[in-house]
């Protein structure tokens, strides 16, 4: 009695019934483990096994065309990748495309979300129409835009009165790829931002209007700060996706004209050259870069934090 302080008493009291419940709680936990177990095991097998396999392969010299020459070579593959100009060029291409497409998508997505939020007529129809580009199959969209930009078959060179082929030059190809990506993915961004917009209470806007704030001031001082969690989530998702861009570039020109991305390099090394060791090293590096982006967003910008500004 003397040893039990007032603060320990509630704990002791809680522990006594906890001892009592432990039998049943243990039984329930076992049942939970048995029920969730198969699904968890399958998920771990399907996701963890290939990742671990890729890491192991990246430490070997492994080429499907020379099956007898497989041997452990440590980090040599990573040395090859990180010292290759092709790798750094592709990182540069990927970063450029990611930054530009996400920035444009953010601005246009915000405008689209505001329009979808404020429209007074044909709400459902407007939202459905806005989502159409996102619903179109990526390959079909890429082909359509490629034909649109091609010199002989496309309407864009005719519209702009171009004599040269935009797709035969690096700058023109970048513009075409960026436009295709923005067209395809802005609706997704707009959807995520619309969800965030719905959380901004109208009373704040009305109060600000009464106080004489302009539309821009209301947008920057009320809407954006309150939308911050949704904005960060939208940017995080889009950046992760844009960094791994593959379909559009593959359909346009398989990475020619200096547009090859990291994913394309990965595909080319693994499936074209059948160099499993080198390709797995590229895969692991891509995985680490994507994880880095996610880390920067979550820890640095606070994406996924609770609404209310908790960092």
């Amino acid at each position: 009695m003397s040893a039990v302080t007032p603060s320990e008493q509630p704990v002791a009291a809680a522990r006594a019934p906890a001892q009592h419940l432990t039998e049943r709680a243990r039984g329930e936990r076992r049942l939970a483990a048995l029920l969730v177990g198969p699904a968890a095991i399958v998920m771990i097998a399907v996701t963890a096994y290939p990742i671990i396999d890729a890491v192991i392969l990246s430490l070997q010299r492994s080429d499907l065309r020379f099956p007898g020459a497989t041997k452990f070579i440590g980090l040599a593959n990573y040395g090859h990748v990180l010292s290759a100009p092709a790798w750094w060029q592709d990182v540069l291409h990927t970063v450029i495309i990611t930054v530009i497409t996400v920035a444009i998508q953010f601005v246009l997505g915000m405008l689209l979300a505001l329009a979808m939020h404020r429209t007074v007529f044909a709400r459902g129809a407007l939202r459905a129409i806005a989502l159409v580009p996102y619903g179109i199959v990526a390959v079909v969209a890429a082909y359509s835009w490629q034909y649109a930009f091609a010199l002989n078959s496309g309407w864009i060179p005719k519209l702009l009165g171009l004599t040269g082929d935009p797709l035969s030059h690096q700058f023109g190809t970048y513009v075409a790829i960026i436009i295709t990506e923005v067209w395809k993915n802005t609706p997704f961004m707009a959807l995520l931002l619309l969800a965030g917009l719905a959380l901004v209470p109208d009373e704040l806007h009305e109060a600000a209007k009464v106080d004489g704030a302009t539309t821009w001031q209301r947008f920057t001082r009320i809407t954006v700060p309150l939308m911050k969690p949704a904005i960060l989530v939208a940017l995080l998702f889009r950046t992760l996706d844009a960094f791994r861009i593959f379909d559009t570039i593959y359909i346009f020109n398989q990475g020619a004209q200096g547009t090859e991305s990291i994913s394309m390099l990965n595909y080319s090394t693994l499936l074209n050259r059948l160099n499993l060791g080198l390709g797995s090293a590229v895969s692991v590096l891509l995985f680490l870069l994507v994880a880095l982006i996610a880390f920067v967003f979550i820890k640095g910008f606070g994406a996924g934090a609770a609404p209310g500004g908790a960092k």
Binding site: R65, H80, A84, N152, G164, A256, N272
Partner: protein, 429 residues
């Protein structure tokens, strides 16, 4: 008290009923599954032939006829691959590396032989069947199907590029590349159609162009034992490509043109010359310009010498993991015989590999340029034969694309470095 057991609120009779129904359902599904698995096909063994989709159906006819002619020994079933050669290779190598036994016969592009043979994915030929499939063949196709002294595949068709030109604009076709570019520039000055349609996109066709020029200049890219031997011929070849790409003779979309875009560019009437495969001839008839179209030998590099054009085409090989290799060898011997080659040529536009076929009247009627084809396939050029060919091709493509940015002074050393890296297959390209 009612009979309440394990599940609250449900009587034992009902749980029994549910349990029985569940067992019956699962048993029924298992039975259906096992029946599907266990069903063995009766009749002759099926040989799976993995081949690109041949549009005219001539290959399908060949498969049907050979199955019938086998007298019940085998049945050939066609499995379609992609139309693009790169995609066909990707589909095949995945399965072969996994030792898939469902492939019996595979149609290989001519530059895959070294790679597939080194990886031991295809079987070498020997004995009377080997003599049968190589009897009377032109030199080029045999060279593409041979690796380190052994025959690894039976050629089924070949292909080579010719010079096509506008007869109304060009009275005498040029004999060399430099002459052709000069002629085109002269036509441009007169305001007439003047493009030279070539394939300058970053893909295998670019390697064909470069390799044809190097071989025509008397040089080589890689020797038999993986030595890079680029010399002055490579510099000449690269200079010609750069000269064409930076002159007014270049189509504005040269950097993205492949065979089909070159064809449509010529048919649109903006070009005076075209370097392309013979498929453009029947297509020109459809487009209504065959009357204005002339044909000539591929332009050479050194005046007075004969060109060496990198030949294309397909060879049929037997997979090492096939369950019926002997039957597959016999089936291929039937699929590649002369009657099938003639029909492939007439209906499908696929150049034959047997020399005597070129002189048959039906072929001569369909292909007025048959003598040119035969000459170029006999006096052939060939792309580097190495197990790492995919890497070498990628290295050359990247080094030479876009063709307008080629620096003739440094391109040879760049190429040498890149190809060496590719041959070691340890570097990122």
């Amino acid at each position: 008290m009612t009979n309440v057991t394990s599940i609250e609120g449900v009587s034992r009779r009902e749980t029994d009923r549910v349990r029985r129904a569940a067992i019956a359902l699962i048993a029924g599904m298992l039975a259906a599954l096992l029946a599907g698995c266990g069903a063995s096909s009766k009749g002759p063994p099926t040989l799976s032939w993995y081949v690109f989709p041949e549009p005219s159906g001539s290959f399908a006819t060949a498969a049907k006829n050979c199955s019938a002619a086998s007298g019940g020994k085998y049945r050939i079933n066609i499995n379609l691959l992609s139309t693009a050669s790169d995609q066909q290779r990707v589909s095949l190598v995945r399965r072969l590396a996994a030792k898939d036994s469902s492939i019996d016969i595979l149609a290989m592009d001519v530059d895959w032989t070294a790679e597939f043979a080194t990886a031991k994915w295809i079987r070498p030929w020997s004995g009377p069947l080997k003599a049968q499939v190589t009897n009377g063949l032109l030199a080029g196709p045999i060279a593409t199907a041979t690796w380190q002294g052994q025959l690894f595949a039976a050629p089924i068709n070949s292909n080579t590029q010719l010079l096509w030109y506008r007869k109304d604009l060009v009275p005498n076709p040029p004999r060399t590349w430099d002459q052709m570019i000069t002629d085109a520039i002269a036509l441009a000055k007169q305001g007439k159609p003047h493009y030279i349609e070539e394939q300058g996109s970053q893909y295998e066709g670019l390697v064909v162009w470069f390799n044809s020029l190097v071989d025509s200049a008397g040089g080589q890219i890689v020797t038999g034992n993986n030595q890079v031997v680029l010399g002055p011929s490579a510099k000449t070849a690269a200079s010609i490509m750069q000269r064409l790409a930076t002159s007014v003779a270049a189509d504005p979309s040269l950097n993205t043109d492949q065979e089909d875009q070159a064809r449509t560019g010529f048919e649109a009437g903006k070009a005076a010359f075209e370097i392309n495969y013979p498929f453009v001839w029947p297509a020109a008839a459809k487009a209504g310009i065959q009357g204005k179209m002339g044909y000539a030998l591929f332009p050479t590099v050194t005046p007075g010498s004969a060109p060496r054009v990198s030949i294309g085409g397909y060879n049929l090989a037997v997979s090492s993991y096939s369950k019926h290799p002997q039957l597959a060898f016999q089936a291929i011997a039937c699929l590649t015989q002369a009657t099938n080659q003639v029909r492939d040529a007439i209906k499908g536009g696929l150049a034959p590999v047997t020399a005597s076929i070129y002189d048959q009247p039906s072929i001569a009627k369909q292909y007025p340029f048959h003598a040119l084809l035969k000459t170029q396939i006999e006096h052939y050029g060939i792309r580097p034969k190495t197990a790492a060919y995919a890497d070498v091709s990628l290295a050359i493509q990247k080094a030479l694309s876009p063709t307008s940015s080629i620096r003739p002074g440094t391109v040879v050393s760049t190429l040498r470095g890149e190809i060496k890296k590719a041959l070691s297959s340890g570097a990122l390209i």
